[in-house]
Each structure stands twice: as structure tokens, then as C-alpha cells.
Symmetry: D3
Subunit: 280 residues, 6 copies
């Protein structure tokens, strides 16, 4: 591949992806709204740009083969806050990709697009949208947009619904963990699969208790290696029994299934001090 | 019911609904972005207002029991054109309804939310979204928003996916026709059904060739009476055989399944001179 | 048919069935635990007997072709109260039918076998059991028993899951009504269908808002004629808006979905003074 | 339509179709392997021809818009007997239609393509093939052929799986009857539907006990009017109880589900003396 | 966990579970109707008690967090024999658990609840009940009871449908084997999973030929390690070809699918002399 | 097993199977239309015979327990070319097996029976037939025949739908590869499984990107060991991006989904010089 672009490159997950993605292409362009990383990889160029600026996005994607789109506000927030970066920003990426004749958008969607389904329902990739937050609603919007750009314009997309890509620090994550290695595998296969059309896939490791069903995404060949069961007994021992009637415990979205719409859910995520940003 | 609000009241379909809706409530408020109708029904008040103005919407819905939301740009257009009235406008309606503690939003969704499915696939109300246009994408957005406001905030919604509410003037409409009488029945039952939660239902008459499946919406009790088969032989005789490889003929969205994204589809709709606006 | 037996013949529904059933056979035997009706139909014999007495049941069914089993305690009650008549009584009927080589048991099952499903889920006859009361649990037990007697012993059964066979007097019944005429049709077709194997069918009229799906029972040919929509506007006008979070309003079992296990639900059924017994 | 061709025109069902089909086109060509009817309709031409002769079929379909293919051996027979007319004959029709650029083949398939499913399984048009005879196997072959000619060559087909198009004279037919009027409607709609692609539909009247599900064929608009329930009580009274373990009674294929492969099933069909040929 | 109770502790499977369960809690109470084991584990108390005695069960569960319910007659027997221990006994356990505010019942259900399904049907946990014996009918009863106690009273349950927890000694067991290690894992995960609501899961090892589908129980995280394929060639070599028309060979219940109702099936189970009790 | 027969023994796949099959039986008979192999295994007899000759097949199968049927023209060809060996030949094998009272036919079916489904549809063994060629149509015919011989005559069959049993030399094969070792395992389990009835299973290795779903064939215990992912990066690096609108890339049949009916597809299969014959 000649040129690959990564948005959200300064975010937590974007930071993990820069190195492996840089090795998959001749020219690697990373972008975010901040000043960017201090050091770059050998074939990497960093461009500071705003997702909400369509012209900037059209320039950015010029000559690219694919774009890996991780840029967005990574937490629940009022609709008005997300409208620019998460909604219009998604439109700008697909529209810019179309105008530049890219082959594919690889997109960081989220479990929160379907977060109001119950965890005792083992949902597949074709479960109806049931967003749990405005954050999740933006993921639904981008997935439907991706579907339409494929159906009407032949632009491919892979929408990776990431579950919990962070250290395992609470009972929910024993099922929802996506290790960094598995994240990298998932992105790589979303890129190297010859034909994807419009595809959806859950981003979760090979956890014994993984609550979602990727069988209909098998053409992508994603086969995770890590398993959060190794952390189960310690995590369970540290926690009190959970309330079986709180959606935070019973629904796929976890804490986002319980928090009020528009209010930050970060406090509920038990991230380590080092994990100051999130994408789930 | 004490107070009922109708948006899009100056549009073609809104105009048909004002009289029957005014009879279902003590106070009937109609609204649109234009100057409104010249004569009003007995208990009707007309308010000129912009859907994209959240404060105006919050004022408008004050004290209402339900809102019937038909206001939107009624044709395919560039994303930027639809962003205000069709996307933000929908958010404003649900948010205003929530803040005013309304019971329910009755919403004019559209077949174009699922227009890229094939007509030989008899789709139910749970078919995945496959929008055919930005117009349809806005319907997907509003449906997912409605789902979330029910799941998280207990605000009910009925999303009526209207097919073709206009005179039968082309072969597609022999299957997709929704007569005005059946439209009225559909809206009435969406209002009088005691409990709806989040419901989706197709707005189509009892046509022999109706291509969609309402069986899972039976709790709404919608049972249409009209049947476009009466027009079939005349319409078919007037038309040349259709190309079986053109999405306009084979997909649920009809002409919208074929037109370029962002371009008006009105010319393809064969509306009568009297039918200068559309909602399908 | 030579001989037909009806249990629960002194109950409310049994009383409606005696005349039509007496016309379908040479010898008609009705039975209940009480003294029975004062006047009998021409070919009718009444036998006072206890369902919980297996020997009595074996005697009763001697020489019969089929048994129509409506006998049971017709309300929620403690498990210990229902154990004899509703659980053991059902076993006794199937066992007596088997020993006497009857062809078929036609059984008054109930929506309460699946009453904890949501009404927005349009459930078919193959929905998993989700009983709402011990009363409903006894129906589940009898259905599974019926399935086994067919699979292992070739004794046929039709389990009619009756919804609300009483005057329409509350909003729920606009969807769940089973008219007496339709009840009679249902029982007749359960008898005259040449082959039934083990079949389940919902007993509900042709209501616009009937919340259950009989399509997989079509081999029984049950096609109801009555429609409770005629009562809808009057009933709805008499009632306050319903709480959309009370299972009594949102679940198939209606009030039985809300009442405590083991406590009578009669008070919630709004039966007319004349309707002092129930079977739903 | 300019030219329409009917094969099997001298058969029982073909004879019923000649008049209505002749009215749907400018030129009507009927064909069979026998000498043909004595009198022809106004625009009708009769051609004696052998289905097993590809060149003859190519000549026959020259200039036609569609072919209605009812020609075949209409009974179970050894594979070797059916190989020419029912297997190779079907190939010849589709191949000749393709070479002559016809738009569509309307085909008399049969319930016997799926006759080994149980009647308590309410099968849809997408039930897997389960033929009951070599006769049914030939229907499976032709349906798969039709599917392929659509997928690979864009030639449309409607495969009408006819149940029992004959007088109602046995208990099975109370469910499986297809009246002649409904047959004619079915063929007409298979012709006049603008787009069919590859479609399958069951040919059965609006019987209360119709054991098959046409809901996924609704785009064809077939809505039968007749109902064999009118014959039920008389037919049932004339018959002894049926053995619930004989596939002839329990499976969709009726007597064909029981007869030995390769042996004629005509004796089991209870046809009237006037009904000396069959197509079911 | 503070206190855990195991019923059926003197049975074959119960004996395997005492040690691992005793390590999961502070206080471990084992119970059965016999005199109990000679030696106890460190924190174990043994109580002799009758499942059919509700008061005894209420006393037994006082202060417990969960109960693991393996107590029952472990073989097919007449209904009257099973009524006390298997039916009423199950009611007593759930009722006693409710009165003592336990969190969860972990229950030894059985494949015999669905034993009349065919093995070529790869059944999931939501397959309809099809019991093969009165023994299996009692399992159906307890599962429906468990469903109701969750829906109405918030008491959780895991119903483990055990297949063949015994040495592999016949061709069926190559598919149905549950090793003791896997049994222990299954029980442990049924206990330690934070939220289960009402869950069903098949108890079977990771056999190549395991005939049931646990995918919808993935939230329990049960991932068996053993595989009976190691025994396949030896077992197959020792056995004559099986009759493909005997339900004992073709149905999930194995010999129980063939034995007469009410008669012991132990002779068909090929247990080793050491395996004198059974639970499957 | 006493006697086992292999047809197509001189073909590429047949050659791989002779040795392992010879070890599973006392007498091993291999057959093909050519002169056969130069050297035979110890218990092997080679018979030159024509599949299209029923009498020869009846003689060949005399005294056999099972037949493994790989004989056929192994490429797309005109219908007339395939009619004898692939259609009539299949009939002859099943008919000869029936007349000789064999227990089972193990058949080399092909992905081309369902080759017109899209690869993004993860198809199970019950996906409807959608043949891509006359070659695939013959596989559909044989599968339906196999179904009927089981339903009507009790003759078992396993239809193995082989994907790509050849060296991995193109991007499609990264998903569709069946290694020779896995082929052998598949055939062995199709033979040694005690009861198969009529079963279908996909013949594909344990590839990360295997596009088909064998879960409903689990009773056969086929668990492949090889994984073509080892070849993925090299193969992908050698190939240009694929056209996402060419059925050869998007449909299960691969090049056969694109080639004209009746024309050889061998040139598209990228076989090595050593792989001069094919069966996929």
C-alpha cells in the first residue's frame, strides 16, 4: 500500500497504532487536532487538522489508499459537543475518502452503538442499533453512513465495534477486554482483507466470557489471541456482588448503559492513571 | 388528550393530518417554518417556528401530551442542507419532548431508511438500516435517537416508515401506495395505542403487492383498508417493461436507490401537479 | 365421533362449550368437581369427579375418542393449592387418555404460560415458556407433558393458549379478547383437524391489536371472526394513560405479570358480575 | 405483451390456462407433445413439439417475451422415464428462453419439491428442498436451474409450487386446494409483476388450513380468493380417522410422501373421472 | 462467599463436587436424604434432609448465598415416584432460596429436558422443551420455575443441562461426554459469574462431536477442556453399526428417547460398576 | 467395515484418498473410467467402469457397506457433457447403493452448489442452493437425490461441499483452502460417524478466513487442523487489489461465479503444474 492515513493519532488507541500501521505502507500520515507526537516513525508525517473541516480532510486524504478513522471525542458529552467532531467529522471522512477515490475506511466504532442490548443476549454483528449515549448514537450514524457509501458509491468500510481496549480493572472487562495486540491484529486484517464491502466486527479478545458474536464477520479472518480469564479470579475477589437490576451490570454498554445522557462516563471506567483517554 | 402538536403542518402530508388530529385533543398546535395555513380548525393554533431552534421547540411543546413530527426537508439534498432541519431538528424535537415530559413522539420516518434492501426481500420492521440517500440517513438517525430516548429516558416513540403517500402514478406505487385514509388511521393508532415503547411500523396500504412486513408491529393495531391493485392494470399498461438490473426498480427505495447522493429525486417521483411537496 | 368428554364443564368457559360439543358426538360426557348443571343436553351425561383422582379419570375416559380438558383452578394461587388439580390433574388426564387409547387431548392452556414476554414482542407458538404465575407454570407443565405423550406414545394434543375469554372491559382486552364464538370455532377445529400431533395455538379473536402470532398453527385452520377494535375508542376513553413501566401493561400476561406469586389476580381482571369464574 | 408461449397446453391445467393467457398477448402459442386441441382461440397457434428436443424449443420460443412452462410427465415414474421430459425438457426451456432473450419463464413447480417436510411445519418459500419422488426431484432441478439462469444470465423466473389443483375430494385437499380461478390469478400475476428476478411461490387457495407460507413472495401480489373450508365438514364426515404416523397424512407431499419411488401415485389422488390428468 | 449449600451431596456427581465447592466459601453445607459421607472437608457440615420437606429446606438455606441443587431421583421412574423429590423438591428449593434471600440457584438440569430433538439438529439453549421421560419432564418443570422466580422475584438461576457425566463406554458418549474436570469448571463459573439472571447451559466437554450449541450461554464463560474423541476409535470398533431408525441412536436423549415412560433406563447406560448412581 | 468402494479413484483427490480408505476396510475397491493406477494397495482392487452405466454400478457395489463417490467431470462444461457422468452418474450410484443395501454414500459435493451467495454472507449448511455453473447444478441435483433416498429409503448420505482442495495460490484460497490432511479427516469422519442420516458439511480447513459455517454439522465431529493464514501475507503481497464488484471476488464460487455457463473454469484456478485435475 502506498499511503495510509490515521486520524485520532494522538489519542490513546491511536498512539498504539502508529507504529504497526507505519509498517504497512510507503507513506504514513497521522493526524489529530492537537500538536501531535514529539517523535515520528520513519515514514510518518503528522498533520494537525480538525475533523470538522471538510476541506482539510479532502486535502489530507489526497492520494491515500485507505484511512483508519479513530478521531472523535472519546467520551459521552452533550449532543451539541459531539455534533462537530463525531457526527460531521465522520461525514467529512467518508466524503473526503470518496472524493479522493480511496478504497476503504477502517473505522473505530464502539459497543455503545448497541449498548442497550442485554448481555445475556449474545448479539451478533447484525443486532439492531440500540445506542446507550450520544457517543453511541454517533457510532450508529457513522455505521449507517458507511453502509450507504458502499451501497451507493462503492467505497468499502470496516466498522470495528471496540469493547474495552484498556487494562482489565473491573468485572465487566473480564468479558469485554480487547488487548492491544488483538487491536492491532484487528486493524491489520481490516486493512489486508482483499474484499470487505461494508463489514461490521466486534473488537474483543478471545475472552472466555466475550459477550458478542463475530461469526458473521469471519471473512475478515480476525482471530484474537488474548484472554482476560487470567484476570478473572483476582478481579472478582476485589469486587462486591453486582446489582442484577442495574443496566450498568446487565447491558452491553456497561456504565454507559446507566449514566445520564450527555454526562461524562469516564469516572465509571476505572482506567489506570496512565489511561487518561479512552475510545470505548 | 389535552394538547397535541404537529410539525411540518404546512407540508403536503401535514395538511391532510390537521383536521383529524385537531379532533383528537383539546388544544391542537400546528407549526411549520412558513407562514402557515390561511384558515385554522376550531381548536387549532398555528406557530411559525424553526425546527433547528431548540429553544423554540422547547417552548412549543410546553404542556403537550404528544408531538406528531412531520417537519423536515422532504427530498434528497446535500448533507449540509439536511443537517439543520432533518438531523438537528430531530434531536431538538426529542430533547424538547423530554424536557417537557411528553409521553410520546409520533414520527414520519421513511422507507428510505432501509431503501437499499431488495424488494424481493420482504423486510420486516427489524431489517437493518440501509439508507439510500442522506434523506434516508436522517431517518436512520432519528430512529436510533428515538430508541435511545426510550431506553434511557422512558420517552415513547412510534416511527412510521412511510412508503409512497401520493397518487398511484407508476408501477412501484402499486406496491408502495399509502392512501390518505390509511395514513390517518396509522397516525391515529400510533397516538391511541396505550403503550408503544419504541415502535417501528411501515406506512403502506393493504396493497396486494405491499413489499414490507408489519407483523411485528401488530400491537399498534394498524390495519389498512385501501389497495392499489385497483390501479395495477392501467399503470402497467402505460409503462414499458422495467430494467431488472436498475436499483430504482429492484430496491425498496425506488428512484432514491438509484439517484446520486445529494441530488434531488423529485423528478423521478411522477407526482401530480397538485402534489408539489412530498414526504416519502 | 362416538364419545367426547369435557372436563371443567361447570366452569364459565365449560358452560359455553357443552352445547356445541354435544352436537359433535354420539355420547357427550361432561364432568366437574361440583354437582353440575341442572339441565343436560340430549346426549349428555354428567359425572361428578375429582381430577386429582387417577382411577376416576381412567373410568371417565373409558371408550372415549377425545377429551376436552378445561378443568383446573382458574386463578393464581399458592403452588400447594394448584398441585393437585392443575399439575397432578393434568397428568391424570393424559395418563387416563393413554390407557384408554384416546386419540387426542384438547387442552385449555393459557397465555400465562408465556406471560413474561413483552407485548412489543409479537410471540409465535414456539416462543420459550416464560410463566408469570404458578397458574401459568401449571400450563407449561401440561404442555411439556403433552409434547412427551405425543413423542413417546403417539397421543395427540392441541394446547390452546387462551388469552382473555370474557367481556372486553379494559385496554388490554382490546388486543387479547377471545369471543365465545371464536372459542367455539377454536375448539371445534382442534377436534376436527384430521392430524394434529402436538400442536399449540393461541386463543384470540381477529383483533386488530392481537399481540400473538398463530401463523405456525395454520394446519389447524383456526380463523377467528370477531374483532375487539369495535370497543377500542370507548374503552380507551374510560381509562387514564397507562404506566409504560408496569409489567401489567407491557407484558403478555397483563395483571398476572405484576401480581405477587401465589396471590389471586381476579380483582385485576375487571370481570362483569356475571363473569364470576375465569380461565385466562 | 407481444408473444407468449404455453407448454403442456393439452394437459389438464394447461387447458384451463389457454383462454386467459391468450388474452394477455398479441400472439399466443400453445404447444404439447400430442395433437393438440380441436379448436383454438382467436390469436392462438398450436405447435406439436417434444420438450426433449432443444432445437424445437429454440424455434418455438423465437420472438417470445415469456414462456409459461407446464409441460412434463405429470406423475411419479422411474427416473429414466422422467429424465427426458422433466429434466432435460426443463433445461431445454430455460436454454431456449436464454438464446431467444426472453424476459421470463413462469414455471409449474410443485409442492413435491418439498414434500418430505411435515405439515405441522408451516414452510415458507425458502424451506430447503426435500423432494418426495423423482417427480419432485425434477422440480428441484428446475428451480435450481432457474436460480442459476437469473444469477448468471439475468433471465427471470417464477416457480409456482402448485399444491392440489383439482376438485376437493379428500381431507388433505381441504388444506392444499388450488382453485382454477386462483391458478389463473397466480399465473397472471407471475406474468404482470414488473420485476420478479428468481421467485418461488406456493400455488394454493385462501384455505383456512393452507399449510404453506407465501409471505416472502408478497412482491408478486398473489392473493387467492377461494377457500376449501366450505368442503371441510362433508369431506371429514366421509373419511375414517387418519393414521397419524403415515407420511401420506403428516407430510406436505401427501400420498407422494408414502408411495415407493418410481411408482405412479395417481390411484391415491382421488381425482374425479373428469380429472384424468394431473399436475400436482 | 460466606455460605454455600449443595443438595444431592451423597450422589455420584455430588461426591465429585464437595471438595471444589468447599473451597469456594467460608461455610459449606452438604445435604442428602441418606446418612452422608463418612469424612467431611474442613469447613463442611452435612445435614440429612428430605427435599420434599419445605420447612427443612427453608432451615437449610438460612444465611446462604447460593445453593447448588443436584438432589433428585437420578433415573426414569413413574410420575408418582418423581412427584415428591423431583417436582415438589425443586419447588421447595427455589421457594426456600427466595424466602432466605439467596442470590442464585445453580441447578443440575439435563439433556433429557430436550431429549426428543434429533441429534442432527444442533440445538441451542433456546430449543423448545421436548422431554423424553418423566425424569426429563421434571427438569422442564424446574427450568420454567427458575425462569419465573427470576422474572417475578429477581432470584437468579443457572440451569446446567448435563449430558453424560460418566466414563465413555458407548458410541453416544463420544459426543455427549462431560468429564469431571469440566463439570467442576461449569459449576464454578455458574457460581462466579457476576450476573446470570436466568441462564441455561449445556454440560458437555469440548468433544469434536458435541451435539449441542452453547454459544448463547457465552456470558457464563464455560470453556471445556476435555475431548472424548480420544476414545472414539476404540469405542466404535467395539460396537456394531447402529440402527439409524431407533430414537436411542438418533435423538439427543439417547436410550431415554426409546425406553417406555416410567421404566428405569439405568440398564442402558453402560455405567461401570463404580458408577452406581447417575444424574444424566 | 468389510467392503468400501471409491469412485473417481484416478482423479487428483481420489488419488490422495486411496491409501487412507484402504486402511479402513477389509476389501477396498477403487474405480474410475480410465485404466487406473499402476500399483495398488494391499487390499485394493481396481475396476474400470463408467458411472453412466447403471448395471456396472450395481455390480460394483455388490456386497459393499459404503461408497465414497468422487467420480465426475471435475470442471464446468456444457450441460450435455455433464448429463451422463455428473447427473445420471449420481443417480446410478445412489440407485446401485440402494439395490445393494449399502448403509451410506459419502459424496464429494462442492461449494459450487451454493456459489452465487456472497462471501460476506457466512452461509451455513442450510443455505438455499444457488449453483454457479452446470457443474454446481449437478451437485445440487445429487444433494437433493441424497435427501430423498434417506427420507424415502433410509439410505444415509454425507454430502461434503469441498471448497479448494489444492495448493494455496491466490487470495481466495486463503479462506477456502482444504488441506489434504483435513480432506482425509473429513472423509474418515463421514464414514465412522455412527449415524448421519442425510448430512451436509463444508470441506474447508481451519482457516482464519473460512467463509462458511459448519456448526450445524457438528454431529460429524469434523475438526480441521490446518490454517491457510500462514500463506496470507505472501499471497496478498503478490496480488493487485481485487475488484470489489466482480463476482469472482465477492461470491463463494470464486471464478466459477463469473465464468460463462458451460465454459471451462480451469484457467482461473491457478493450479500448479502438478495439479492438473481438480474437483472443486
Amino acid at each position: 500500500m502506498k499511503k495510509l492515513v490515521l486520524t485520532g493519532a494522538a489519542g490513546r488507541l491511536g498512539s498504539y497504532l502508529r507504529e504497526p500501521l507505519s509498517k504497512m505502507c510507503d507513506t504514513f500520515v497521522s493526524t489529530d487536532i492537537t500538536d501531535g507526537p514529539k517523535t515520528l516513525f520513519e515514514n510518518e508525517t503528522y498533520v494537525k487538522a480538525d475533523l470538522a473541516d471538510l476541506d482539510a480532510m479532502v486535502d489530507l486524504l489526497n492520494g491515500a489508499d485507505m484511512v483508519v478513522h479513530f478521531g472523535a471525542v472519546g467520551d459521552e458529552a452533550p449532543f451539541e459537543t459531539l455534533l462537530g467532531p463525531n457526527f460531521v467529522g465522520a461525514y467529512n471522512i467518508w466524503e473526503a475518502a470518496y472524493r479522493n477515490k480511496l478504497r476503504r475506511v477502517v473505522y473505530a466504532s464502539s459497543i455503545h452503538a448497541v449498548g442497550m442490548h442485554k448481555k445475556t443476549d449474545f448479539i451478533g454483528i447484525d443486532a439492531p442499533h440500540r445506542p446507550d449515549t450520544f457517543y453511541g448514537l454517533a457510532k450508529c450514524f457513522a455505521e449507517d453512513l458507511a453502509s450507504m457509501y458502499w451501497d451507493k458509491r462503492g467505497l468499502e468500510s470496516v466498522c470495528m465495534r471496540i469493547l474495552s481496549c484498556a487494562q482489565v480493572s473491573n468485572p465487566r472487562a473480564v468479558g469485554t477486554w480487547l488487548s492491544y495486540d488483538d487491536l492491532i491484529q484487528l486493524v491489520q486484517r481490516s486493512i489486508d482483507t482483499p474484499i470487505t464491502g461494508f463489514s461490521v466486527v466486534y473488537g474483543v479478545s478471545n475472552n472466555d466470557r466475550a459477550p458478542v458474536d463475530n461469526s458473521k464477520a469471519q471473512h475478515l479472518g480476525y482471530r484474537p489471541k488474548d484472554n482476560a480469564e487470567q484476570f478473572a479470579s483476582e478481579i472478582y475477589a476485589q469486587n462486591e456482588p453486582l446489582d442484577p437490576h442495574d443496566p450498568a451490570n446487565t447491558h452491553h454498554g456497561g456504565p454507559f448503559s446507566s449514566i445520564p445522557l450527555g454526562e461524562s462516563g469516564v469516572a465509571h471506567l476505572n482506567l489506570n492513571p496512565d489511561d487518561t483517554a479512552k475510545n470505548d
